[in-house]
């Protein structure tokens, strides 16, 4: 049984968690890189720290780990 979904279902709740955060990371990471390296940073406070890039990287790593760890069919 997949943890947290239902009897006989293959997707774990943790796979949903990993999958969505990975998707967000994949969206934010390249966008943050584009902002950083093209000089198109937004006018928010502390945008010089490139939070979009670093947060995108963190979400990619977190989401990637959970997606692989709890991928369907892993047991």
């Amino acid at each position: 049984m997949a943890e947290g979904t239902g009897r006989g279902e293959s997707l774990s709740i943790w796979f949903f968690v990993g999958g969505l955060t990975l998707l967000y990371g994949i969206i934010l990471l390249p966008y943050g890189a584009y902002e950083w390296f093209s000089g198109h940073e937004s006018s928010t406070v502390l945008s010089n720290l490139h939070p979009t890039f670093w947060w995108g990287l963190l979400l990619t790593l977190f989401g990637g780990f959970y997606s692989i760890r709890f991928r369907p069919g892993k047991g």
Binding site: G6, R7, I13, T44, L49, P51
Partner: protein, 575 residues
């Protein structure tokens, strides 16, 4: 309505395509989960209790997340701006001891009695009368609370993005109604775990970047003291010696007895909205561990809610004039002060988050509101189906009929919540509104449940009349202080310097005391319940089964001891 009219003209920002993509993805996944688990939601046990197959971690995170709605996000961020660190009491003394007490002491009784709901437990212990009173008051409260969440979400969307308030209310309501109707509690729990992670992913950047900008915690405290002209805002306990010494107008007795004992224990141990999540656990040890895990995460939530409110006192400046922005109460908003306390979190979000991160932050807020809505509406459908419809209108229907009733009551509950969302617009403050509701319904319920669980001599008549007397007296005290002026306030809240929040705490304590006195008095005047009928329901008449924990790290009591130690440590650090 004046505030609303002004806010309509003060849209803060626009979503970029990347923000819209992030928000849309969230809605797609949430709805997908509803359709995905529908296939495994066939029986009433599946629909109302998620098949009782959740692990301790999932039940624990869902337990915290169901509570992490508008009250926690916008309400307490605003309260932190208004009252300073005193707002943290609602997370620590106002939650942690009660959550641990639920896990270690009360959960075995709820779990082994195999009850479907808290009113269901009251029916087993005190009979149909107590169940009826608690079910009606709980159903009423969940609908009102769900409305608070809808209104909060709509307010964020309107203020931040300029979206029409009705459009925002309906988008959130329809989405939640679909996934709860399809998958019941199972769907709600899965989404709540996802929402908990997303809330952190979207909101944690505000305190991180805010503390960076402020120069760390010590400099933040100094800046707040400079801007506000007082160091009272960054202490938990030192200002609670008298009503006049702190911005909340409260005394430590109100915090310890009103909040820490009555409201907190009442909410976390008898509010079926949260207890339902723990009842979904797959065994007794998981049911005991879930609130302990929840308590550990609950202690961390002030970082993403209270810290942004404090940061706003120090760093929130008008981008054009560079003057500190002064937020005001919802009913004091005007051209000179266009933003209310409730908007502090969106304002901080916009301050630090550009395209992409803004979408993530907005998604976090939406996730919080939707978890609050889903928690209320799934609990409502369970209590309505089991404790009102199944108990008083149609006792012998088939299991499939009750599942169908659960689905329809989800939709009806959501429509009723939409109605209450429009009512909330007229409340001066979300927090005052919610605290008043808690003191009406939760405080006396805690008196009834705790006596029923720990005192064998409590009788059915005692439970019923105690609960009724506590609820009615709480509403009566609220009317008295609302219309009775300073004299009434001094009588109920023990000081003319008490402010509305303090009055809520003392009112809760008095209504609990009235409930207990009436329950004890009536019980002693009526025939005791034979002990054989109390097995599995009352301490002293029940053999608690072994929870299966063998090693130290498997024992819920061990982890509860660690959590309570950290709790004391945090209170000392921020004393």
């Amino acid at each position: 309505m004046t505030a609303l009219a002004i806010l309509l003209t003060t849209q803060l920002t626009h979503l970029a395509p990347i923000d819209i993509l992030i928000l849309v993805l969230y809605f797609v996944v949430v709805l997908f989960i509803g359709f995905y688990v529908k296939g495994s939601t066939k029986t009433s046990e599946d629909f109302f209790l998620a098949g009782r197959e959740m692990t301790a971690w999932i039940a624990g995170l869902s337990f915290v997340s169901a509570n992490l709605g508008s009250l926690e996000l916008m309400g307490w961020a605003g309260a932190a701006y208004q009252y300073g660190m005193l707002a943290t009491h609602w997370y620590w003394i106002g939650a942690i001891p009660a959550m641990l007490f639920l896990g270690i002491v009360m959960m075995p009784f709820y779990y082994i009695s195999k009850t479907h709901s808290v009113p269901g437990y009251l029916q087993l212990r005190f009979g149909e009368g107590a169940r009826g009173v608690s079910a009606v008051s709980f159903a009423f409260m969940t609908i009102l609370m769900s409305g608070v969440n809808m209104y909060s979400m709509a307010l964020v969307m309107k203020v931040v993005l300029g979206w029409n308030i009705s459009f925002s209310i309906w988008v959130g309501a329809v989405t939640v109604a679909i996934y709860v109707m399809l998958g019941g509690l199972r769907s709600a729990i899965i989404n709540e775990v996802l929402q908990f992670v997303l809330i952190w992913a979207g909101a944690a950047l505000i305190p991180i970047l805010g503390l960076w900008e402020a120069g760390g915690w010590t400099k933040l405290k100094a800046q707040i003291a400079l801007n506000v002209g007082s160091s009272d805002y960054t202490h938990l306990w030192t200002t609670l010696g008298s009503f006049k010494d702190n911005p909340m107008g409260v005394h430590w007795t109100g915090i310890v007895f009103g909040l820490g004992f009555v409201i907190s224990f009442g909410y976390w141990t008898t509010d079926f909205l949260v207890v339902q999540r723990v009842l979904s656990a797959n065994n007794l040890r998981a049911a005991k561990m879930a609130p302990v895990i929840g308590a550990a995460f609950k202690m961390a939530v002030p970082f993403i809610v209270i810290v942004p409110g404090l940061l706003a006192l120090a760093v929130l400046r008008d981008p054009h004039t560079h003057q500190i922005i002064h937020l005001v109460g919802e009913n004091q908003v005007d051209a000179a002060h266009p933003y209310s306390y409730n908007e502090v979190l969106p304002l901080m979000l916009i301050r630090y988050c550009g395209p992409g991160l803004l979408g993530l932050g907005i998604t976090a807020l939406v996730a919080g509101f939707m978890s609050g809505m889903a928690g209320n509406v799934s609990a409502f459908s369970t209590v309505w189906t089991y404790d009102l419809y199944g108990a008083f209108f149609n006792k012998k229907a088939s299991d499939a009929h009750y599942v169908s009733m659960g689905r329809w009551s989800t939709v009806v509950g959501m429509i009723a919540s939409i109605g209450t969302a429009y009512l909330v617009m007229h409340a001066a403050s979300i927090m005052d509104y919610v605290q008043a509701l808690f003191s009406f319904f939760i405080a006396p319920l805690f008196g009834t449940v705790i006596l029923g669980m720990l005192w064998k001599r409590a009788t059915k008549a005692g439970g019923f009349w105690g609960l009724l007397a506590g609820t009615v007296s709480s509403i009566a005290m609220w009317l008295y202080t609302t219309y009775g002026g300073q004299q009434a306030l001094a009588r109920i809240a023990l000081s003319v310097d008490a402010k509305p929040m303090a009055e809520n705490l003392y009112r809760a304590f008095w209504s609990w005391l009235i409930c207990v006195v009436v329950t004890v008095s009536v019980s002693l005047l009526t025939r005791p319940v034979p002990e054989a009928q109390l097995a599995g329901l009352v301490y002293g008449a029940t053999t608690i089964p072994d929870d299966g924990a063998r090693s130290l790290w498997q024992k819920p009591i061990f982890w509860a001891a660690i959590v309570i130690t950290i709790f004391f440590f945090l209170n000392i650090i921020f004393f």
